[in-house]
Structures are given as structure tokens and as C-alpha cells.
Symmetry: C2
Subunit: 224 residues, 2 copies
């Protein structure tokens, strides 16, 4: 109770990089700041860390306030702590990225929060160091996706192999050979073919697949 007092406290916030996948592109959710400083600038969604919550809980709260969703997949990106990063006061911010299925997010809620999906490779200039946060989050997510099947969070429960391939292409930033991709997927027993056929995006129809989380946990060999 003694030596803490000699030091100064600071505000700590969380900022969320919410990734979505739509129209074969990777998107991020941003909004125009509603308050000063920086009113009207594009910005990530964030919030202050309360006295009674962990930083992870603050991020979960922020995510669910914005999206109405619970148990969103989320990982810490890191702490951003330049003295002048926030033009108003000294605020240290901890960035988190989150993966959601764009179509699970209610359009109504999105509009209420004036949130917009933008393509991650056409990102406008954002408030403070938020561009840097997005880029670091994207790099980390890309890296993680090579070794863990986290991408399914961005897709509907049922998806075609072409959708899955487009997702990996969008995240990785380069084209993938169709046959090689499908070969690798075939080796993963936790990506299960269903009896269902998607007839929306193709005339011929494409088999729908599903990610079996339990099967993955029993035999986690993933390498893309």
C-alpha cells in the first residue's frame, strides 16, 4: 500500500479490431468517433478498462456492447503506449482482434452504432495509432491461421470449399492453387463434408462442409 503511491496512474483502454469476411474479402469494423478529441475521424471501437474488470473482460464487454454477441473469438494483439498516442490525455491501450461471421451481426445494431465494414486493404486513415493496431492484428491473425483452424469463426457454420479457399486467400493475401488446397483439406478429418449442397453461388451446386471442433481437439493436425 506504500510504494504504489509514488507512481502515477494512467487511463487504460481496449481497442477492438473486429474482422469479418464478406464478398471474398477481409473486412474490419470501424466507426466515426462520436466524441472529442478526434470527433468524426474513423476509429476502432474501444472502451476504458474499469476498476473491477480484467483487460480481457473489458474487451469482451466492448465487443458485446457493439455486436450483441457473446463468446466471440478474441486474442490480444498487444499494448500501445506512446505518451502522445491519444491527443487528449495519456491513455495506454491494449488492442484485441476478434473474428465474427458478418452475417451473425445484426444490421440494426450495426447501424445504431454507426459501424461500417471496410476492406482491410482499403483502410482509410484512422484515429491515433489505430492503423498500426489493425496491421499488427492482421499479421498476427495471418500467422495464427497457419497453425490453428481459427478461420471458421469468419464463416457460416456450413461453407463450401471455395469459400474456405477464398478466406485463406483473403487473409494470406495471395492466391492458392485449388487442387493443392483441396488436397490439404481432405487430410483434415475435422473438416467434414455434409450431405447438403449449396446451390446459391453455383449452378452445379457445391458440397457444404462443417468444422468439427471436437474432432479437431482429438486430433489437432493442422497445417496450411
Amino acid at each position: 500500500m506504500t510504494f504504489y503511491q509514488e507512481h502515477s496512474k494512467v487511463w487504460v483502454s481496449v481497442d477492438c479490431i473486429i474482422f469479418g469476411f464478406d464478398e471474398n474479402k477481409l473486412k474490419v469494423l470501424i466507426g466515426k468517433r462520436q466524441m472529442d478529441p478526434g470527433r468524426g475521424e474513423w476509429s476502432l471501437y474501444g472502451g476504458f478498462v474499469g476498476a473491477e474488470e480484467s483487460i480481457d473482460e473489458a474487451a469482451e464487454r466492448t465487443l458485446s456492447e457493439l455486436t450483441g454477441m457473446k463468446k466471440i473469438f478474441m486474442r490480444q494483439v498487444g499494448a500501445f503506449g506512446n505518451v502522445d498516442r491519444d491527443p487528449g490525455e495519456r491513455v495506454i491501450s491494449i488492442a484485441y482482434y476478434a473474428l465474427i461471421n458478418v452475417h451473425d451481426y445484426s444490421e440494426k445494431l450495426r447501424k445504431e452504432h454507426h459501424a461500417e465494414w471496410v476492406y482491410v486493404n482499403e483502410l482509410p486513415q484512422l484515429y491515433s495509432d489505430h492503423n498500426e493496431m489493425v496491421m499488427k492484428a492482421w499479421r498476427m491473425m495471418k500467422q495464427k491461421m497457419r497453425t490453428e483452424p481459427i478461420g471458421f469463426r469468419l464463416l457460416p457454420q456450413l461453407f463450401t470449399l471455395t469459400q474456405l479457399q477464398r478466406l485463406y486467400e483473403a487473409v494470406g493475401g495471395e492466391e492458392i492453387d485449388k487442387r493443392n488446397f483441396r488436397k490439404r483439406i481432405k487430410d483434415m478429418d475435422f473438416i467434414e463434408k455434409t450431405e447438403l449442397i449449396d446451390k446459391i453461388t453455383s449452378k452445379r451446386g457445391a458440397s457444404l462442409y462443417r468444422f468439427n471442433k471436437k474432432a479437431y481437439k482429438e486430433d489437432p493436425n493442422f497445417k496450411l
Copy 2:
């Protein structure tokens, strides 16, 4: 200046995981806490983030207070922010790992700070969540070492190929085939053979090598 006031401030600290390499093992620098709470427990070195310094600067300051060294290689591990992680007050801590050459660290300074090198795989129980920090730092460092030649920070400027191999074995946690290792090293033009011979660890003598940072920057192909 307005909406910040509604929120509470917290103390923010940095904690340093200082890695060293000695006796063919990876080590971490820890010390017994000199203050309450937790007096006498093994702990990482840390310090509070001041109002006028960035979090990176706070980590650099902490590192140089302890070691007397400047420009230490250092990377952020992440923020640790459970409400009760510090038994005294709410403190959010940002962990950094650092790589130093054990023999560059003055024994005098080390003793003055009551700092001890311990093997990273024989880590005692540490204060608060510091074990978790070390483990995460080790994982991240291991990962980084696969794709960037950061390991040289742990070695003297001149080193033998066996030393280099032992380093990679210690960090990675598994043995490496000598011939395959040396083959890979030969392909890296930025690891330069010198005319010098080390006669200390072997009777026959082993060639000493050096890392050429400039050559690496011009042709950064590294893959271990």
C-alpha cells in the same frame, strides 16, 4: 478533457524477462522481491510506467537500471491485466522479453541488484503471474528465432558453430543434427567464418564465426 474523467485510472508497470545463454542452457534473470507485497518471493524485474515515458521507454529504462546496458534487444510479450494479479493494488503489467549476452552483464551490478540467473526449465515459483509471463515470452522468442536471426544477441560476438547449435537446441528444446545444422548455416552468407580459432573448449580448436548484421539486412534469408 471531459469523458476521460468518468473512468478510473490504474497503475501500469512493465516486467522484463531477461534471457541469457550459458552452460548450453537458456537462463532467465530473476530476483527476490525487496518490497511488500510479496517480499522475498522470486520475481521478474519490473517498474512502473512514468507519466512522461512510453511503455517501451519504461522497459528500456528498467533494463538499463538493472544491467547498465543500453540498446538491449527487446520485444513486447503482451499485457497482463487480471484484476487480482497484483496482491497489493490493481496493476496492469506489460511484459517484455530481452536478450543479452550473459558475459556482458557485470557481475558486480548483478550482485548489487541481488539478481540471479536460473535455468528457464527449472524455474521456481514466481511472484504473481510472472511464471505465465516467462512461458509466453519463451514461446514468442522461440517462434521469432525460427524466422529471424535474433539469437546472436545471446552469444558473444565471436562464437563457434557448436555454441550456435547448442543455443538453438536450448531455445527449441530439442536436439539438432550437427551436419544438417551446419549445412543450413553455410547457406547463410551473413554468418561469417573468421580466421580466428577457439582453443578453449576443444583441443583441436574450432573456427569462430560472427554475425554480419549488414549482410543480413541486404539479403535476409533466414530459416531454421
